[in-house]
Subunit: 339 residues, 2 copies
């Protein structure tokens, strides 16, 4: 029914190992004539390697798993950001003969279990909180953690320059003349993505001469709805504020909508600046001024590291985390302060 190595070997009059070597590109060990004959027969018979068999024998699956924590409803988080990461990695890895297993993680232990059970060759952690990454103990496999600032030496962090992004936003607002600004982001612990952005933002504002009291922050979940609610109550709860920096475009767009719904205007009454440069940032009126991440570079870097580590075999060695550049995209939601 399906063609096996032994079928090809029989027909070519060589051993199974020779065929295996040919099929795996270890051609240094085989004569050109044999190679050609084997390849010809393989093509004619429509040989397709059996991945499970290879994985079992070689104890390596050529699979890289994209692990994503599941939310309360047990369903996968599928933010545009996650999507870009997973989709992009698949492309890169496929071109190098690797495959992507997409898996939601319900409990921390499943990370190690998945690695062992599947003989994974590499792992990409997407959207994992740093505290969880800190706790991971895995040393058999390269582990890239997207957007992680964890100090866990077993993992390699790949993220954008969040601190620099925060600075860009702060400087932009300060340069426009704002003296009372607000940072809006989700609750966080330690110096993760959100902490970095806030620190950079604050730093740039203070450098530009803003009074510390003029640089506030507020905790909001990262959704359009939560942003909208913040926008609605902004004037009442933060009467002096003339500009808001939101850690996510979804949030920023919601804030804009709330402000307008409450009778204000953007950027007339309040300026808004976001983070991510998602596609819809240009669909709003005005367009959303935002800090753009270089997603293709982030994905390429993560893939490169994974493949690299797989090559040189396990033991990550002390590889430095990677921070990708960010830049400001001007669209119209930032203007001078009101009055």
């Amino acid at each position: 029914m399906t063609t096996r190595l032994s079928d090809i070997a029989d027909e070519a009059g060589v051993s199974v190992m020779t065929v295996s070597n040919v099929m795996n590109g270890k051609r240094a060990r085989v004569s050109p004539a044999t190679i050609e004959k084997v390849l010809g027969i393989a093509a004619r018979l429509g040989y397709v390697p059996n991945i499970p068999a290879r994985s079992l024998a070689a104890n390596s699956s050529h699979i890289v798993a994209a692990l994503v924590p599941v939310g309360e409803n047990n369903s996968l988080l599928v933010s545009p950001h996650t999507v870009a990461v997973v989709g992009g990695m698949e492309t890169h890895l496929r071109h190098h003969g690797y495959h992507v297993l997409l898996r939601g993680i319900e409990h921390e232990d499943q990370v190690a279990q998945t690695i062992r059970g599947w003989s994974l060759d590499g792992v990409v952690l997407v959207e994992f909180p740093d505290e969880q990454i800190d706790r991971l103990r895995v040393d058999t496999v390269p582990l890239v953690a997207i957007d992680s600032y964890s100090a866990n030496p077993r993992t390699i962090g790949v993220r954008s320059d969040d601190h620099g992004g925060g600075r860009l936003a702060g400087r932009r607002l300060a340069d426009a003349g704002h003296r009372s600004v607000l940072f809006a982001g989700p609750p966080y612990q330690g110096m993760g993505v959100v902490g970095q952005r806030w620190a950079g933002f604050r730093e740039a504002c203070l450098e530009a001469g803003l009074d510390p009291d003029g640089v506030g922050s507020v905790e909001v979940l990262t959704s359009f709805e939560d942003g909208r609610r913040l926008g609605l109550r902004l004037r009442r709860d933060h009467p002096g504020v003339t500009a808001v920096f939101a850690t996510a475009d979804h949030l920023a767009v919601g804030i804009m909508a709330g402000i307008v719904e409450a009778g204000g205007s953007v950027p007339g009454d309040v300026s808004v600046i976001g983070f991510d440069d998602l596609d819809f940032a240009r669909y709003t009126t005005p367009g959303l001024t935002t800090i753009a991440q270089n997603m293709p570079a982030k994905v390429a870097e993560a893939s490169r590291i994974i493949l690299d580590e797989i090559e040189r075999g396990a033991a990550a060695g002390d590889r430095e985390p990677v921070a990708l550049d960010v830049h400001l995209v001007e669209r119209g939601s930032v203007g001078p302060p009101r009055e």
Copy 2:
């Protein structure tokens, strides 16, 4: 190092087979006492089954692949729609012990190759053109094709009621008083998704008494930019048109932007209606009136079918394709015709 079935068997003083049966829930064949003992040891030793070994022996991997065609740049298409499908399927399948392999397909033949090579248990085709699905010859595995209208009896189509969605849009515009409307969608062949929407749209418009000359169509790629360009030249190229139905929200939002950029207003000068109800449909000004697909239901249905077919073993049997309900979401981009 890693725990195997034989380790547990040794310690429990039973055979490997008994342990295997316990681990696979075939507990009818094992005495309660043995079950408990085995389970206890397995838990203590941290047993994790080896998936490749199981796949090889059982010739079945518990893997369902999500296959997505790759574009020109060889990278995965990751529309919000695809994302919802793949993410949602992962959730459902995970709860039933299955895993998701995400794979970009560069060439048709890779579909069959992937199925064989991985001993896949099921396949979901996402965003495949019907012509390609027509050509597939696979009879070993359940094959669900999302949004397909292919008549290929080996595949089971799961899609929204596109014809009904088109009708809803047509009726809405006709009811608002429009007499000259335009359908905007990508080039298509046969009666696929786009063809269905167009047919439904046209049908509803004619039923409502519009003149056939008043129901036009134009080919545009499905992107914000292409929509914007259409919006910009709308007044010149289609001077009498007072409403546009776009087959995708991305496109619709672009059209709105183009119209406004050209000095017109929505819905003052031109009404716009979209399809999909993506998250950003509410971020625009005005919000986009659109036909909403029931994505959770679509995903649930696709998962249910796959699991069902896997259970009853191959041979799809003549299962009817599934069409999910759609509904109109009113947001403000549709109004009465100008003048």
